[in-house]
């Protein structure tokens, strides 16, 4: 081996190390920045969190303000959104995956869903304002907010459900059909149970997207200062992200601390939703294999 060539090899190896280090840093730096932002930005909020904060109504004095209506509103929205979006999303996915694969209508729907997934969430707000709040006369209610969020997350539910359905081997469908099951029986009793871990995980992730959405709810008309709890699906409402937005927009330092505390509550909720999704998936997968 000539000295020149060896030299070339050595620089090549060094270059590779430098290059891969730079690329590796590109993975780490965003994560580190996020960690720093979380710690620096939210540590002040920790002291605010307590029973009072969770069970009080908003107030003009930041020390007395709490997030009860926002929390209740978010939970109601989440439940309603799930009740609307999950059946529709899973249904649409089953149709596309199990029934309509080659049809023109199915392909049209497919294209539609792909397009909808890229529409900015604030546009869904305008849709909700025009259709649910005004044309359908729901007013600025919980139901209108939930319908809007449901349409927003439906593409996500469809996409994850389709992925889950695709993991079920065709031989299993064929086996069920060969045993005399009708198509729907095969889907309901064999395919759906097998795809359930994936569907549930994806659905929880879709719901966790809904819980953090702010812009569409602002446009649909969520209130920012609510001193009562919603007493029905036609009641006006607020939600946790809306409350955060409201507090962030105020100049006083105390409200920013409140915002940090509310953000902590929101992030903990999100984290526990995601964790439960992972645990649920693991449990169900074990049971299927066992």
């Amino acid at each position: 081996m000539s000295p020149l060539f060896r030299h070339h090899r050595a620089t090549g190896a060094r270059m590779e190390r430098v290059f891969s280090t730079i690329c590796g840093l590109a993975v780490w730096i965003p994560l580190i920045i996020l960690a720093v932002l979380l710690v620096v930005g939210l540590s002040e909020g920790v002291s605010r969190i307590g029973v009072d904060f969770l069970t009080s109504y908003p107030s003009r004095k930041w020390e007395e303000a709490g997030i009860l209506p926002a929390l209740v509103g978010s939970v109601c929205l989440l439940v309603l959104t799930g009740l609307i979006a999950l059946p529709l999303g899973v249904g649409a996915a089953v149709y596309l995956e199990e029934y309509g694969q080659r049809g023109r209508f199915a392909r049209f729907i497919e294209l539609n869903i792909a397009n909808l997934a890229g529409v900015p969430s604030v546009i869904y707000g305008l849709l909700g304002l025009g259709v649910f709040v005004r044309a359908l006369g729901m007013g600025r209610s919980l139901l209108a907010g939930a319908c809007t969020l449901a349409l927003l997350v439906m593409p996500v539910v469809v996409i994850v459900t389709r992925e889950a359905l695709r993991t079920v081997p065709d031989a299993i469908r064929e086996g069920a059909l060969a045993l005399g099951a009708s198509r729907w029986q095969a889907i309901r009793q064999v395919v759906l149970p097998m795809a359930m871990p994936g569907i549930l995980t994806g659905s929880i992730l879709a719901m966790s997207r809904a819980i953090g959405e702010t812009a569409p709810l602002v446009v649909v008309g969520a209130l920012t200062y609510v001193t009562f709890l919603p007493d029905g699906i036609d009641a006006p409402f607020t939600a946790l992200p809306i409350q955060i937005f409201n507090w962030v927009s105020r100049p006083q330092k105390g409200f920013l601390i409140n915002a940090a505390a509310a953000i902590l509550v929101l992030l903990v909720t999100l984290l526990s939703l995601n964790l439960s999704a992972i645990l649920l998936r693991n449990r169900l997968q074990q049971r299927m294999q066992g």
Binding site: E16, L31, A92, Y99, P120, L126, G130, L177, S182, L267
Partner: protein
Amino acid sequence: MSEGASFTRGRPPLGDRLVEAALQVAGAVSVFTTAGILMVLGKETFAFFSEVSFAQFFFDTQWTPLFADKHFGIWPLLCGTMLTSLIAVVVGLPFGLLSAIYLSEFASPRFRQVAKPALELLAGVPTVVFGYFALVIITPALQVFMPELSGFNALSAGLVMGLMIVPLISSLSEDALWAVPRGLREGAWALGAGKVETILNVVLPGARSGLFAAFTLAVSRAIGETMIVAIAAGQQPRLTFDPRSPVETMTAYIVQISMGDVPVDTLEYRTIFAVGASLFVLTFGLNLIGRRFVPRAQRSR
């Protein structure tokens, strides 16, 4: 027990047909959604343009629908949107692309398994939270070095938005890199190229259409992003490319008007639909272009 559908020539049982119809309706909801968006935006935008001329909308340089002296030029809002999105992409692209190269060409499968969901965390943080960070941490931190930076500014909002779109760019770029056939890499190695030379001269050029898709979809995401800019970039529509000054984006304008008490069916109310329609056309166009360039094998995902 009904007869096996696949073996009989007869029609499937009634229950089955009902279920199929119901599922079809569920699928059709997406079509209704698209139709609803087009109708709502179309109707109100049409009403808007019956009072404001196209020329004013596209050629006026001021946007002051709430003032006594009303101007309806979209450019200041468009400019704010472009400025914040540009900053976001300038920040997000190198991080997204380089991390994709690392994950696809260097990382061990185990590291990938941990790093990918970790990066996804960035996309999972609600944008209202990122907006808070931009306003409360990034802006004061930057003001230490740049005293002339105003409290609301395009720079902080853009920087944080860049952080937010890293996972999107990273995962799309990684798909693009994966789609480059392994044989091409092996050919380059066989010709004596090192790993870095192979990546720079073979893999990246081979993946360029997929990388272009990642870029386009990231721009679209940044343009449509709302809460970060609504919180941290300000509410002053102005025609400037100075990232230190407050600006207003199209999305932030929609939020600003929605928070206020503008009576329905007035011209001021309709402005948000006209702005929304512009936003829709812009993002829809970019998504259409972007999706065309997503590598074939990945397109179905």
